[in-house]
């Protein structure tokens, strides 16, 4: 990384007004060179106001679009404001902004850097059938991306200028679209991916389920998303500034 890079931290947030101030404060202290953008995904609480008071730039969606929709808006913002690097960070404090420099360093060699748990750093562990499902998914995705990926559903990822432009025009918005499908799409269009080991904190809200039925459902849906991602027609990779051909997943007129 170099010092002149314009770095944008994108935080998709839906009703996160409680945890957001501390997350933004941590970002400002640990990585003061980066701007923070909170994408308020149609929150019913005062997420947008809290974020603005904490010094972040805020864009507010009129209604809830899900993480994928919020992220595409984030990439469009990054593209319009001419950022060199966009980094997706969860607004619930799961991701430690202290690892951002590691992700930036990885961007020297690849287009997409994914912060991965289970890669040797940290003590975050998932047990039971869900672990099996995630393991299977990561084996398949590692084959597709031709690099070792241990945490395919990580929402902690950095992408460079070319990929920002690509994602601003094409970004899947459906289930797992922000993690699995967007990565497969980027790989299919010739972008390179590498994972960076990071530690993640336990989420404070919501507990990951250990039920085998839910794990099977998860695996089924992930497999379906993966299949769609492999057979869907991709936009032509086009970095000259014109929008690629439209599709349902990433339509941009």
């Amino acid at each position: 990384m170099n010092e002149q890079q314009k770095v944008l931290i994108i935080l998709p947030a839906w009703n996160e007004s409680e945890g957001l101030p501390s997350v933004l404060k941590e970002i400002q202290t640990k990585i003061p060179f980066a701007d923070a953008l909170v994408v308020d995904d149609g929150s019913s609480d005062d997420t947008a106001r809290v974020a603005a008071e904490a010094g972040a730039n805020v864009v507010r969606l009129p209604y809830n679009l899900g993480v994928g929709g919020a992220m595409r808006l984030g990439y469009r913002y990054a593209h319009e404001h001419d950022y060199d690097v966009a980094i997706q960070v969860d607004a619930d404090g799961q991701h430690d902004p202290g690892f951002v420099p590691d992700l930036l360093a990885a961007l020297d060699t690849v287009d997409l850097a994914i912060g991965a748990r289970f890669a040797g750093v940290g003590d975050y562990a998932v047990r039971g059938p869900r672990k099996l499902a995630m393991g299977l998914l990561s084996v398949v995705l590692s084959r597709i991306a031709r690099t070792k990926l241990t945490d395919t559903t990580s929402g902690f990822r950095a992408c460079n200028r070319q990929l920002i432009e690509f994602f601003a025009h094409w970004y899947p918005v459906e289930y797992l679209g922000d993690t699995v499908e967007s990565m497969v799409g980027a790989v299919r269009c010739g972008f390179t991916v590498r994972q960076v080991p990071v530690a993640m904190r336990e989420r404070t809200t919501g507990t990951p389920s250990a039920s085998p039925v839910k794990a099977m459902v998860y695996l089924g849906r992930a497999g379906f998303v993966l299949m769609l991602a492999m057979i869907r027609r991709m936009p032509e990779r086009d970095i000259s500034g014109r929008s690629p051909r439209t599709s349902i997943a990433g339509a941009t007129k």
Partner: protein, 152 residues
């Protein structure tokens, strides 16, 4: 009572519904053409349900009524598929619109802050400079560069 009474009444009612919707301009032209064609085919069939028997025999279907059922089912299936496609397209379009709204709203917010700063600035420099600066806000539709300078 003969079967043809029921079917003919149904045929006429369907055609009347389609025509009425068209007349009230509740159907877009692209759908109107399809539905009008369907109505024109269905209504006479109601009066003469046996007219398709010959055609049915030729293509291996036992009688005309079965052929109508089969064709109707295929038609409904295609219409459903078409509606799913339209709904997906509309959803994609509303998504884009909401993204645009969010971006525009953030831009308006930034502009408002800039404008307030300009106004405060003008008040401090006194009314002497006011006439010359009055036209400036009109030309400030592309402030992306300036914002960055203000932030920096």
């Amino acid at each position: 009572m003969q079967l043809s009474v029921l079917t003919s009444i149904t045929g006429v009612v369907v055609l009347a519904c389609i025509l009425e919707l068209l007349r009230r301009q509740q159907l877009r032209e692209k759908y109107a053409a399809i539905w009008l064609a369907i109505g024109v085919v269905v209504a006479p069939l109601g009066f003469f349900p046996t007219v398709l028997n010959g055609v049915a025999h030729k293509i291996g279907v036992a009688n005309g009524a079965s052929l109508v059922l089969f064709a109707g089912f295929i038609l409904v299936l295609l219409v459903c598929l078409h509606l799913s496609w339209e709904a997906s397209r509309l959803e994609a379009e509303t998504r884009i619109l909401s993204e645009e709204v969010a971006l525009v709203r953030s831009k308006v917010g930034e502009h408002t802050v800039l404008l307030e700063a300009l106004k405060a600035d003008r008040q401090r420099t006194g009314p002497r400079a006011e006439p010359a600066e009055r036209h400036e806000p009109v030309g400030r539709h592309e402030p992306a560069k300036e914002e960055q300078e203000v932030q920096a």
